[in-house]
């Protein structure tokens, strides 16, 4: 059981969350080329170690989060809201 520190709700069991995917993908414009979209949708690194990934606090605040997690040890180094505006607001507050 991973425990994820939600920036809004505090540390919770990972069973409250749902895994999204690779948080480093920059999705191209909607009208970008097939090659660009192909890479964004289908090409994934299989990282051994720290990776940024999105999780949604589904059974909590429903916020999408960017979690920096070690795929070997499940160590979580950082968690921030995926919404850039909210992440900045939280940062400014602290």
């Amino acid at each position: 059981m991973i425990r994820i520190p939600c920036p809004f709700c505090g540390e919770r069991d990972h069973s409250e969350f749902s895994y999204g995917g690779d948080a480093t993908i920059e999705y191209p414009a909607l009208d970008a080329s097939i090659a660009n979209w192909h890479d964004a949708v289908f090409q994934r690194q299989n990282i051994c170690g720290m990776q940024f990934e999105t999780w949604q606090h589904l059974n909590g605040c429903r916020m999408w989060l960017v979690v920096e997690r070690d795929t070997m040890s499940h160590e979580i180094r950082s968690v921030r809201p995926a919404h850039t505006g909210m992440a900045k607001a939280l940062e400014d507050e602290t």
Partner: protein, 996 residues
């Protein structure tokens, strides 16, 4: 009589007699007994038969590592197989039987398999079912099915009960600062140290009494220490959980515990669960889980009357039972001498055969003072007797080897091959073990992540040292919280005066010995060597090939011996061979505990619409739609389901029908950028949707496949009401949230699920407008110019119920969807139903709904299964080429544009009198094989057309198969039917009725 209860001594309460049944006969024991100690007190030595060879087996240990006394307890639905008699607390009325024996453990017909044991060696299954050379006789599935029946009967453990489990189970959760596992000398001290520093401590003990090895000491001093420590932990508010096993340790200090709440009671309590499955989140963990004594492989070392030395000490000192009168102890280490003295003082005749060539003078002298004969450089070779022990033939050192060394008569053989720290829980967390050659055991490495090993689990052997080790671990846990704690130096690993002599197997040239490594799975030393010869040399392969360590003791006693034998065969050292990984659970966990309350009707959540009771009152038969219960059909006057849905569909097409559509997902989309957001999400344009109009929309995934469809209603400049399919409601909500938060944070839009806030009813059929006009306060709002096709209004029903009405159609008829706040749902249904009846209307369920939509070729979740793109679904016209939307690009990748992709079609039986099955594959008439040309997703009887019809997909669409006959292939249900493929729009293809 060889085993007996002593008149004094032990912790059992001789004033409380408990009766129990064993193998159908009555016996008695005392309060404080385990089933094993009570059986031993009654001199019941033969308690089971082995897994493969049906060899007689007895009690081999006094704890969780038990490999012999695996029994079944309870009767009927409460019958439980594979219970360790050594950990089952005795209660009055306990009923127990031996396993894997017929007719009884004493006389077992299955023992005949032992005569053929050379055919049942390691890999027996793999070899035999490849067939018997030279012609591979007996290979193939059919024959295997026959073998399997026989083998299932002959091999295996206890029988599972077939009746439903009458007991209840619970899940529970907790948090603490420090979790201490084990309440022995180390655990108790660790708990005291941590709690004294003000930390919240939970102490978990698998036994029914606290104290661990304190309980097994003969002297009063240990008992005083134990009671003092227990008083201390209570004084500092340590939370104590007995009969609770920490079976697994996970990341972030999460531990899985199994609490056996009523397993020690004659009848379960109606107010208590039988077991509780705890998830405890601890910030720091101390593992004081003890160590287990190993056996040694020698001839017939599995006979009833062979057990570990420590076990005999436990039976004597804790339960007041002397396990034998003429006792031969075989050892390679110091740990047995204390127990030997205890046994001797209890009037047993004790001989020690110590494999070491020398031990300190003091050790030998102390033993002799106790009247024990000690013979060095001797080891056990072969046990004499079959259902009981009559003697032990010995081996005597011959250089580095062994030679036969005479026979001694005895009635009990005790063995100690050394001790193994219990580090399973640390291993669950990825903690590593290192081989300590001085103590011949794997000891845990220090682990950085707030887990502290203590006592014999850390390889510390002496009781006093274990207490110190517990204090050190407790202090380390305190430091995890940034608090100061007294600095103490941890005791060294080990603690014996004389070094152990590593000894795993006694081999004597010329002697053919049946030496067991894992008695519970009947794995012998010869099996390990066979595995080596056949190339299974990795420990992981060895385990799987021989099943070594795969029984319910998970190799607690035998694994190290197996590793040592493999190392020897390979000419390597034990650490080079390594260990298999321990995985949860440490001891077996019942499926019931894993399920908790989530069984039967509580297996998954149940969702009822707010008009559920109203539907039932009006004759609905319900069906499951995901988690929802929806009306299936409303049978009248003994109608069958088919008669009912055909009537409902017919009435809806000719008059008016009402259907509960509350289960559709409903999402409020609000904000200044709501229009732009929807325009990106849906394939069709939403930028110019006027207020008061609805639009049918398709949304795609990034990869260009269809995610969902539904209607979205524009309520104001900045507010929309989106509906989704029942099946995808949750998924769509998550998707919209992801898009807004992760991808397009600049859009000012908020989405809110309002599925539970609004109840909906479809009103469909040519008289639907008349029906609704009679229901609303102002009938003028229902006029065609006020509420045209795809129009939306917010108005009130008679009586003042606020509602939203949209003129949208899933049935293909003129139709409306009416939504009211959920609390008004029964009132809405009643108003609508009161006006529908004079119009000869009806209520309809999902079955008729299916008929109406299949006739029209409308898609649902059965078609939008995640493999279908918008063109496949026949909805290509919904894809705008004037704007970009999610999935726009990848829906045009080459694979998506192939002409032969399966496309939505209608299906008619060639012979219109025939029917066919949903799920059938569509195949060419001459090639009914493989994946076919397509598949059928739905079948119904069409009252409009007067015959059975279907909907599905065929490669290339219906145009590609015009005039051809296909087969709806359903060979398993013997339902191959000739069909023809038609346009999916089977009724009213022009859509005049819904626009009318």
């Amino acid at each position: 009589m060889s085993a007996r209860r002593l008149s004094t001594g032990g912790r059992v309460d001789r004033s409380q007699t408990l009766s129990f049944k064993w193998e159908g006969r009555d016996y008695s024991g005392y309060a404080g007994d385990t089933l094993a100690s009570a059986l031993m007190a009654n001199n019941q030595r033969l308690v089971g038969r082995s897994f493969k060879y049906h060899r007689p087996r007895g009690i081999m240990s006094a704890g969780v590592e038990e490999s012999g006394a695996i029994v079944s307890i309870g009767e009927g639905a409460r019958h439980e197989p594979n219970v360790r008699a050594t950990t089952q607390q005795l209660f009055d009325g306990l009923v127990a039987r031996g396993q894997n024996a017929w007719p009884s453990v004493g006389f077992d017909m299955g023992a005949v398999t032992g005569l053929f044991s050379r055919f049942f060696a390691a890999g027996f299954y793999y070899k035999t079912f490849m067939g018997i050379p030279p012609f591979e006789w007996g290979s193939g599935t059919g024959i295997w099915m026959q073998y399997e029946k026989l083998i299932r009967k002959a091999a295996g453990m206890g029988d599972a009960p077939s009746a439903p489990d009458p007991d209840s189970y619970e899940h529970a959760h907790d948090h603490c600062d420090v979790l201490v596992v084990g309440s022995g000398p180390a655990g108790l001290n660790a708990a005291v140290s941590a709690a004294r520093a003000g930390l919240d401590v939970i102490l978990v003990e698998q036994d029914f009494e606290l104290g661990g090895d304190f309980l097994n000491q003969p002297d009063a001093e240990a008992e005083i220490k134990r009671t003092n420590l227990i008083a201390l932990i209570k004084a500092v508010n340590v939370r104590i959980m007995t009969r609770t096993t920490a079976f697994g340790l996970y990341e972030y200090g999460v531990a899985g515990l199994l609490e056996q709440v009523t397993d020690h009671m004659a009848s379960g309590s109606e107010h208590l669960p039988r077991q509780r499955f705890w998830t405890v989140r601890a910030k720091s963990t101390v593992l004081a889980t003890g160590a287990l004594e190993r056996s040694i492989a020698f001839g017939n070392n599995d006979r009833p009357g062979v057990m570990t030395v420590a076990a005999a000490g436990v039976y004597l000192n804790r339960y007041g039972v002397l396990a034998g009168e003429k006792i031969a102890i075989a050892t390679n280490n110091d740990s047995v001498y204390q127990t030997a003295g205890d046994l001797s003082r209890a009037d047993a005749t004790v001989s020690i055969f110590d494999a070491r060539k020398e031990v300190s003078h003091a050790l030998g002298e102390a033993a002799e003072r106790d009247g024990i004969t000690v013979q060095l450089a001797m080891a056990p070779m072969n046990v004499l007797g079959s259902k009981t022990v009559s003697g032990l033939s010995l081996a005597i050192a011959n250089g580095d080897d062994w030679k036969a060394g005479g026979t001694r008569s005895c009635d009990l053989v005790l063995v100690s091959g050394g001790w193994s720290p219990v580090a399973s829980l640390l291993s669950h967390r990825g903690g590593k073990l290192s081989w300590d050659s001085e103590n011949a055991c794997f000891v845990p490495n220090t682990f950085s992540d707030r887990i502290h090993m203590a006592g014999s689990a850390a390889g510390v052997w002496n009781l006093d040292d274990c207490e110190v080790s517990g204090m050190v671990a407790g202090a380390a846990a305190v430091k995890d919280f940034g608090k100061s704690a007294p600095s103490m130096s941890a005791p060294m690993v080990g603690g014996w005066e004389n070094p152990i002599r590593p000894l795993y197997e006694i081999k004597v040239a010329g002697e053919k010995l049946k030496s067991f490594v894992d008695p519970q799975h009947d794995v012998t030393a010869a099996d390990v060597r066979l595995a080596h010869r056949e190339g299974f040399v990795s420990v992981e392969h060895l385990k799987r090939y021989t099943t070594l360590g795969m029984a319910n003791d998970q190799g607690k006693m035998g694994n190290i011996i197996g590793l040592a034998l493999m190392a020897e065969a390979l000419g390597k050292e034990i650490p080079e061979v390594g260990t298999t990984t321990f995985r949860p659970p440490y001891t077996p966990v019942s499926i019931g505990a894993l399920c908790g309350r989530n069984s039967g009707s509580h297996f998954r959540p149940l969702r009822r619409t707010p008009m559920h009771d109203w539907n039932l009152d009006h004759g609905a038969t319900m069906t499951d739609a995901g988690l929802w219960q929806r009306p299936w059909y409303f049978a009248r006057d003994g109608e069958t389901i088919t008669e009912a849905y055909i009537r409902e569909a017919t009435t809806t097409r000719s008059a008016v029908g009402l259907c509960d559509v509350t289960s559709l997902g409903k999402i409020a989309v609000q904000g200044p950028d709501a229009t732009e957001f929807l325009n990106r999400v849906y394939t069709n344009p939403f930028a110019k949707l006027p207020i008061g109009k609805a639009r049918y929309g398709i949304m795609l995934r990034d990869d260009g496949l269809v995610m969902d469809d539904g209607t979205t209603w524009r309520l104001s400049e900045t507010e929309y009401f989106m509906t989704t399919t029942t099946a995808h409601a949750g998924k769509v909500m998550v998707w919209l949230e992801e898009l807004l938060q992760v991808r397009w944070p600049d859009l000012k839009v908020h989405v809110t699920s309002v599925s539970d806030q609004w109840a909906g009813c479809a009103v469909a059929g040519p008289k639907s407008r008349a029906c609704l006009a009679a229901c609303v306060e102002d009938p003028a709002v229902m006029e065609n110019d006020v509420l045209p096709f795809m129009g939306v209004i917010e108005t009130t029903l008679k009586g003042g119920t606020p509602c939203r009405i949209a003129r949208i159609s899933f049935s293909g008829e003129m139709a409306f969807e009416v939504y009211v706040p959920s609390d008004y749902a029964p009132a809405m249904m009643q108003i609508l139903w009161d006006e529908a009846q004079p119009l000869q209307g009806c209520l309809y369920g999902t079955e008729a709904l299916g008929t109406l939509r299949i006739e029209k070729g409308h898609v649902t979740g059965a078609e939008l299964d995640g493999r279908v793109n918008i063109d496949d679904a026949g909805l290509g016209k919904m894809a705008s080429d004037k704007k970009s939307y999610v999935g726009d690009t990848l829906r045009k990748r080459p694979e998506m544009l192939r002409e032969d992709r399966p496309r939505l079609v209608g299906i008619f039986p060639k012979d219109r009198q025939q029917t066919f099955n949903g799920g059938a594959l569509l195949c060419k008439a001459d090639t009914v094989s493989g994946f076919g040309e397509g598949w059928i997703t739905g079948v119904t009887h069409s009252p409009e057309l007067g015959h059975w019809i279907g909907i599905g997909f065929v490669s290339g669409g219906h145009e590609a198969w015009a005039g051809q006959t296909l087969v709806a292939a359903d060979p398993l249900r013997k339902g191959n039917v000739d069909v023809e493929v038609v346009s999916p729009h089977m009724v009213d293809p022009g859509g005049e009725r819904m626009h009318g």
